[in-house]
């Protein structure tokens, strides 16, 4: 299944809009609007399971909660649709332009990959 991105709650919904405006072929949604925003504030384990049902890869700044959930899912033999971590120290959460460009760059490199159970950290290049 090719890359389909779902932006976590702490990422501005504008990022999805700007990525799509730059390249309409990118599959990207914001949690603020996905399923009518019904997963805002929901537990992340429910979110990961629901995202996996639609083969969505979660893009998140949450390095505190998500890693533990991924370990638990692996122990239970549960699959997820992939997780892409972003580090606030390398791309600040308010630097929407950098995140948009980073996601476009990511898309160009690896939108054809199978993202099932893939876990990656976005690293801005020099």
């Amino acid at each position: 299944m090719s890359l389909r991105l779902l932006l976590d709650e702490q990422i501005s919904a504008k990022v999805a809009d700007q990525v799509r405006a730059s390249d309409p072929s990118v599959s990207i949604q914001s949690l603020h609007r996905w399923r009518g925003g019904s997963f805002l504030g929901k537990d992340d384990d429910l979110l990961l399971v629901a995202a996996a049902e639609e083969s969505l890869t979660l893009v998140t700044y949450d390095q505190k909660t998500i890693p533990t959930l991924l370990v638990q899912m692996a122990l239970l033999g549960q699959s997820h649709g992939g997780v892409l971590f972003v580090d606030d120290r390398t791309i600040a959460s308010n630097n929407l332009g950098a995140l948009v460009k980073g996601l476009l760059s990511l898309w160009r490199q690896c939108h054809g990959w199978d993202w099932t159970n893939r876990v990656m950290l976005l690293q801005p290049g020099r």
């Binding site: 709650e9 702490q10 949450d62 791309i91 760059s105 159970n117 690293q123 290049g125």
Partner: protein
């Protein structure tokens, strides 16, 4: 500092607290203190509630994200309420409530923010399958 305060609870409330204590493997005292403390904070800070995440209690917005995540974004906006609210699709008064909470309880939020600053090496220790993907953020193809 703390004080001993004796309360007389209805049987049902006392049993409910004992059940929570058994389930969480905590003392009745710990659970009782937490319930009172959280209730008092919820009265002081509009929009704030407490939920459990992986066995830890965290201050959250009602039906929305955890306070530490709001502060993470707010820091990047120089604690600007309006910009943070727009970013997170929250109302300014909700963000202000989070900032007020943080001002009163930095010792609760700051360690969580530090825990979120793992970086590649520490994240890799927790998730051995983690891979780095280098991307351009200067707009070059």
């Amino acid at each position: 500092m703390s004080q001993v305060v004796t309360l007389r609870l209805p049987d049902s409330a006392a049993e409910a607290i004992r059940q929570i204590a058994r389930r969480e493997k905590r003392s009745v005292n710990e659970v009782g203190v937490r319930i009172v403390e959280e209730w008092l904070r919820q009265q002081r800070f509009a929009h704030i509630e407490f939920r459990s995440f992986q066995g830890e209690r965290h201050a959250c917005f009602k039906d929305r994200l955890q306070v530490w995540q709001v502060i993470m974004v707010a820091r990047d906006y120089g604690m600007d309420v309006e910009k943070t609210a727009e970013h997170l699709s929250l109302r300014p008064e909700q963000v202000q409530s989070a900032l007020n909470y943080y001002e009163d309880y930095p010792e609760e939020i700051d360690p969580v923010l530090r825990e979120n600053d793992l970086g590649y090496e520490q994240l890799k220790e927790r998730l051995p399958s983690l891979q780095l993907i280098e991307v351009r953020i200067d707009g070059a193809p």
